[in-house]
C-alpha cells in the first residue's frame, strides 16, 4: 500500500514538473510568435529603404511598435518610490506624459526597425518572461531584451533593455535626479514641455 502511495506521489511530481515545463515552453512559443508577428507587421508597413512616411503611416507604426508596451508598469518603475507618494490624478497625468514621450522617441530612428532580429532566449516563468534578441543592421549588432508580464491573458512589455541599458532604469535615474534637485512638480513641467513637442 505504501509502495503504491509512493509511486503515485512520484508520478504526480513528475507530471507536475512536466506540465510546468510544457506551460513554460508554450508561453515561450506564444511570446516569440507574437513578437515575430509584430516585427513582420512593422517591416511590412515600413516598406523599402528610403520610403517617405505619411502622418497616418507614422501613427500606425507608432501604434504597432508601442501597442504591446505596458506604459503604466514602465512609468511606475521609472518613477520608483515617488509613484506611491503622488495622488491618483498626478499618476494618471504622469503615465500619460511618459507614454507620449516614449512613443514619440520610438519613432526617432525608424531604420532600426529594419534590423534582422535573432531570438536568443525566451524564458517564461509563470506570469513573467524575459526575451533576449539580437538585432543586426548594417554590420552593427545590438542586443535588445524585453521584460514581459502576462496581464489578463495578454503578454505585455514592462521594460526594454536596448544595448544593455534598461529603458525604465534610465528614466528612473533621470527622474530621481530631477526630483532630488528640483522636486516632483519640476519633473512634471519638464515632461509636459517634452510631451508638447511630441504632439
Amino acid at each position: 500500500m505504501k509502495k503504491v502511495f509512493k509511486i503515485s506521489i512520484a508520478v504526480l511530481l513528475i507530471g507536475f514538473f512536466f506540465s510546468e515545463n510544457v506551460i513554460a515552453q508554450s508561453s515561450g512559443n506564444e511570446i516569440r510568435t507574437m513578437l515575430e508577428e509584430r516585427d513582420e507587421q512593422i517591416k511590412e508597413l515600413m516598406g523599402p529603404e528610403g520610403t517617405e512616411y505619411t502622418d497616418s503611416q507614422r501613427s500606425e507604426l507608432k501604434e504597432i511598435i508601442n501597442g504591446i508596451i505596458d506604459f503604466k508598469a514602465m512609468a511606475q518603475e521609472a518613477l520608483g518610490d515617488t509613484y506611491d507618494s503622488i495622488t491618483e490624478e498626478e499618476r494618471t497625468e504622469f503615465v500619460d506624459l511618459f507614454s507620449t514621450i516614449v512613443r514619440d522617441q520610438s519613432l526617432n530612428k525608424l531604420d532600426i526597425y529594419r534590423a534582422q532580429v535573432t531570438y536568443q532566449a525566451v524564458e517564461a516563468d509563470g506570469g513573467t518572461a524575459r526575451v533576449e534578441t539580437l538585432a543586426q543592421l548594417d554590420n552593427v549588432r545590438t542586443p535588445v531584451n524585453y521584460e514581459m508580464e502576462n496581464k489578463n491573458g495578454e503578454w505585455v512589455i514592462t521594460d526594454m533593455e536596448i544595448d544593455d541599458v534598461s529603458t525604465a532604469s534610465s528614466y528612473n535615474r533621470q527622474f530621481q535626479r530631477i526630483i532630488n534637485q528640483k522636486g516632483f512638480e519640476s519633473l512634471m513641467i519638464s515632461l509636459r514641455k517634452r510631451a508638447e513637442r511630441a504632439e
Partner: protein
C-alpha cells in the same frame, strides 16, 4: 575597413572582379571558458610532440642498453647427433665386424661456450649508451620545465586578458548608461551638448578598446591551447 579589405584581397590574390567576403563579420570572445591551470599542464605533458619524441628516444636508448647488457653474457651452444641404420633381411645382424651404412647405431654431442672478451670496449659502449640515456632524460626534464613555464605564462596572459575583457565590457555598459542619460537629458532640454559628445566619445573609445581586448583574449587563448598541445580546431568548433 577599406584598408583591411584591400589587404585581404591582396593576400588572397583574387581576380579583378572577384570579391571575398569574410564568413564571420563580428569579433566575439571565444565561447569556451578557460580551464584550470592543471588541465593545461596535463594536456601539455600528454600532447606535446617534443615530449613524446623524447620519451620514445628514452625508451629506445633503454632497450639498446638492455640488449648491450645481454651481449656481455656468455653464449652456450649444445649440439648432438644420432645415426641409426638397419637391414632386417641380412643374416647375422649381430656380427661385430660388419658395420657399414646399412647397419649402424651411433651418437654424439658437443657443447660450445662463446664469450666476447673485449670487456673494456663493451663497458665503454655501455657507459656511452648510459650517458645518452641520461642526456635524453635531462632533455626531457628540461623540455617539461620549459613547457610548464610556457603553459604557466600563457595561462597567466589568457586569464589576465579574460579579466580585461570583462572589465572593459563592464566599463562599456557603464558608458552606455551614461550616454543614454545624456541623450535623455538632451532630449528633455536639460543636458549639455558637450556632455553628450563626451559620453559618445567615451562609448566609442570603449567599444574599440573592447574589440582590442577581445582580440588579445582570443589570441592568448589560442596560444595557451597551442602550448598545451590542444588543436586550435577545438576552440573554433566550441
Amino acid at each position: 575597413m577599406a584598408f583591411v579589405r584591400e589587404t585581404w584581397n591582396y593576400i588572397l590574390r583574387n581576380d579583378e572582379n572577384e570579391i571575398y567576403e569574410p564568413e564571420v563579420q563580428f569579433l566575439d570572445p571565444i565561447a569556451s571558458n578557460i580551464e584550470t591551470r592543471e588541465f593545461y599542464q596535463n594536456a601539455a605533458f600528454g600532447n606535446r610532440p617534443e615530449l613524446r619524441a623524447l620519451e620514445i628516444g628514452k625508451e629506445a636508448t633503454e632497450t639498446y642498453i638492455s640488449s648491450m647488457k645481454k651481449q656481455q653474457l656468455p653464449g652456450l651452444y649444445l649440439a648432438g647427433y644420432i645415426n641409426f641404420a638397419n637391414t632386417p633381411n641380412r643374416p647375422r645382424q649381430s656380427n661385430p665386424f660388419i658395420q657399414n651404412t646399412t647397419n649402424l647405431f651411433s651418437g654424439g654431442f658437443g657443447l660450445t661456450i662463446r664469450q666476447n672478451l673485449n670487456f673494456f670496449s663493451m663497458k665503454t659502449s655501455l657507459e656511452r649508451s648510459e650517458i645518452e640515456l641520461n642526456k635524453v632524460t635531462y632533455a626531457k626534464d628540461a623540455a617539461q620545465d620549459g613547457i610548464l613555464l610556457e603553459v604557466n605564462n600563457n595561462y597567466r596572459t589568457a586569464s589576465l586578458a579574460n579579466i580585461k575583457v570583462e572589465q572593459t565590457d563592464n566599463a562599456l555598459v557603464t558608458s552606455k548608461r551614461w550616454l543614454r542619460q545624456e541623450q535623455l537629458d538632451y532630449d528633455f532640454g536639460m543636458g549639455d551638448a558637450k556632455d553628450l559628445i563626451d559620453a559618445m566619445r567615451k562609448e566609442l573609445e570603449l567599444k574599440l578598446q573592447l574589440k582590442q581586448r577581445i582580440f588579445e583574449y582570443n589570441s592568448s587563448l589560442a596560444k595557451l591551447n597551442k602550448s598545451a598541445g590542444i588543436p586550435l580546431t577545438t576552440l573554433i568548433t566550441n
